[in-house]
């Protein structure tokens, strides 16, 4: 289903028609904002979840792998519609901004005001730099392949260095209870969580994980490869969901 408009006969809407289309824009923007806060946040909370909730889950092995991989999904799906149908290169930034709005509201009003956790213990990660680059690459290349390969990789590779300025200082060591802990670990020890015992953390698992202390770049490059594939997959998922079919029955 599409509308056939020839280049020569094209006339932009003016007057009331222009106002109608603009009103429609605003309605859609409000709709989309809440949709992506709600939908993307639920997806993210239940796939990345504790890695994003707690400072003592943000490790160098799993966190930079899981977060971009799960975080590139909705941006790819929304870009597929926003770019292909409207040439609007803002799908990724819109999704990640929406996610952060939802996350921050929850961290402040649920974790802090309701359940007394200090906010610095539950600071969310940011994927905004990667999202901006993803949108820019799509706009400049107008190519799914190039965006998937370079944009997907950039989304993953930029994740850890974007967040190190936020969480790096939580990795300063302290001597505590005859052990060396990072400040992040100490948050987990001191600020009591009844449902999050230490053994539940999925961090720093597996042998040969450091390869001579190069855990983070390895995770980031692994994530880059997976993000490239994930981006393509979710581009097509986005397109599939954006079907315009009408059925005879359900």
């Amino acid at each position: 289903m599409s509308v056939n408009i020839s280049n020569r006969s094209f006339r932009p809407y003016t007057g009331e028609k222009a106002r109608i289309t603009r009103a429609y824009d605003y309605l859609i923007l409000v709709l989309a904002l809440f949709l992506f806060i709600g939908a993307f946040h639920l997806h993210f909370a239940l796939t990345v979840g504790d890695w994003d909730f707690w400072v003592d889950w943000k490790d160098r092995q799993w966190w930079p792998l899981v977060t971009p991989l799960m975080g590139i999904t909705f941006p790819a799906a929304v870009q597929a519609v926003m770019w292909e149908k409207f040439r609007l290169p803002m799908g990724a930034t819109l999704c990640v901004t929406a996610l952060l709005i939802g996350t921050w509201i929850a961290r402040i009003f649920a974790y802090h005001y309701w359940n007394y956790f200090p906010i610095n213990m539950v600071l969310p990660a940011t994927m905004l730099p990667g999202a901006l680059v993803l949108d820019a690459i799509l706009m400049l290349s107008n190519s799914l392949t190039i965006t998937a390969i370079f944009g997907g990789a950039a989304f993953a590779l930029l994740f850890y260095p974007s967040n190190w300025p936020i969480i790096g200082m939580f990795h300063v060591p302290v001597e505590y209870g005859n052990a060396q802990l990072s400040i992040a670990d100490l948050f987990g020890f001191e600020y009591i969580r009844t449902g999050m015992p230490e053994y539940l953390r999925i961090i720093e698992r597996g042998t040969l994980r450091t390869y001579g202390q190069y855990a983070t770049p390895l995770s980031a490059f692994c994530s880059a490869l997976l993000c490239t594939l994930m981006y393509t997959l979710w581009w097509h998922i986005g397109k599939w969901f954006a079907t315009v079919r009408y059925l005879n029955k359900i």
């Binding site: 007057g15 009103a23 709600g38 939908a39 909370a45 649920a110 954006a242 315009v244």
Partner: protein
């Protein structure tokens, strides 16, 4: 939000300052306002009573403050769904073949408002109260499917957005020719997919009761919710259906200043 073609107002005679295509804007804003008050009210209720009476489901206070709220919620939702779905169906437009293009445009705007109200409810259910659930599990030990947050999240927020999504679906089906002639696949996906999240509550509670005792939020037991929410991407298709039809209608409309 439910004018039928028999009761069409004459647009030129309307005294309202609101443009004819967004006639339902006040109702839409009221909808936002009412929902905001309800959700913030429920959050305030949690703040007031969850720690004092919501930590143990075997205490009498839990029955009084939380299970009673649960029953009230179910009753309110039952009344609301029968009323609003019943109204939308009974007041359906039986003469869609003679629908004026301007009225059709207006109804597309109203449908968008319905979907917007639906996504606002999705926000509270999918974002705020969902992540808050993890926070509450760090305070209370899960001893019932009806925790102080589940009573609001699973048994009020989830059904409410399902009802509002159903309203959008019914509105389109009963008042817009294209949606009446065929069943819109993206609208159906965007409404029925997230509905499956409500169904996933059963799986979640079964798992937490029998084999998953830990409060690990990204656990596979929760992925039923995740798959359900992907269907919200159907909104992209609804947008495209709306844009193409509105373009056709606007092209046929006379120019106005």
């Amino acid at each position: 939000m439910a004018t039928t073609s028999e009761q069409l107002p004459a647009f030129s005679e309307t005294q309202s300052k609101i443009p004819w295509y967004v006639q339902d804007l006040p109702l839409y804003l009221k909808g936002f306002g009412i929902l905001t008050v309800i959700y913030i009210g429920l959050r305030l209720y949690q703040g007031a009573f969850a720690i004092s009476s919501g930590l143990d489901s075997s205490e009498p206070a839990f029955e009084e403050y939380w299970m009673r709220l649960f029953y009230i919620e179910l009753s309110v939702l039952a009344i609301f769904v029968s009323g609003v779905w019943g109204y939308l169906w009974i007041s359906r437009d039986r003469h869609l073949d003679t629908l004026d293009p301007k009225e059709e445009i207006r109804r597309y705007f109203t449908l968008t408002m319905w979907i917007s109200i639906y996504t606002f409810a999705v926000y509270w259910a999918g974002s705020y109260f969902a992540e808050q659930d993890n926070s509450w599990h760090q305070v209370a030990i899960r001893d019932t499917p009806f925790t102080a947050n589940h009573i609001i999240e699973f048994y009020f927020n989830f059904p409410l957005y399902v009802i509002l999504g159903g309203c959008a679906w019914l509105y389109a089906r009963t008042r817009l020719p294209l949606y009446a002639k065929g069943v819109s696949l993206p609208l159906t996906l965007a409404v029925f997919g997230p509905f499956m999240i409500l169904v996933s509550v059963g799986f979640n509670e079964w798992g937490h009761t029998f084999w998953f005792r830990e409060e690990f939020f990204a656990a596979p037991i929760h992925w039923g919710f995740v798959i359900g929410v992907w269907f919200a991407l159907g909104v992209g298709g609804i947008l495209l259906q709306g844009v193409t039809r509105l373009t056709e209608l606007l092209d046929g409309l006379e120019e106005a200043p």
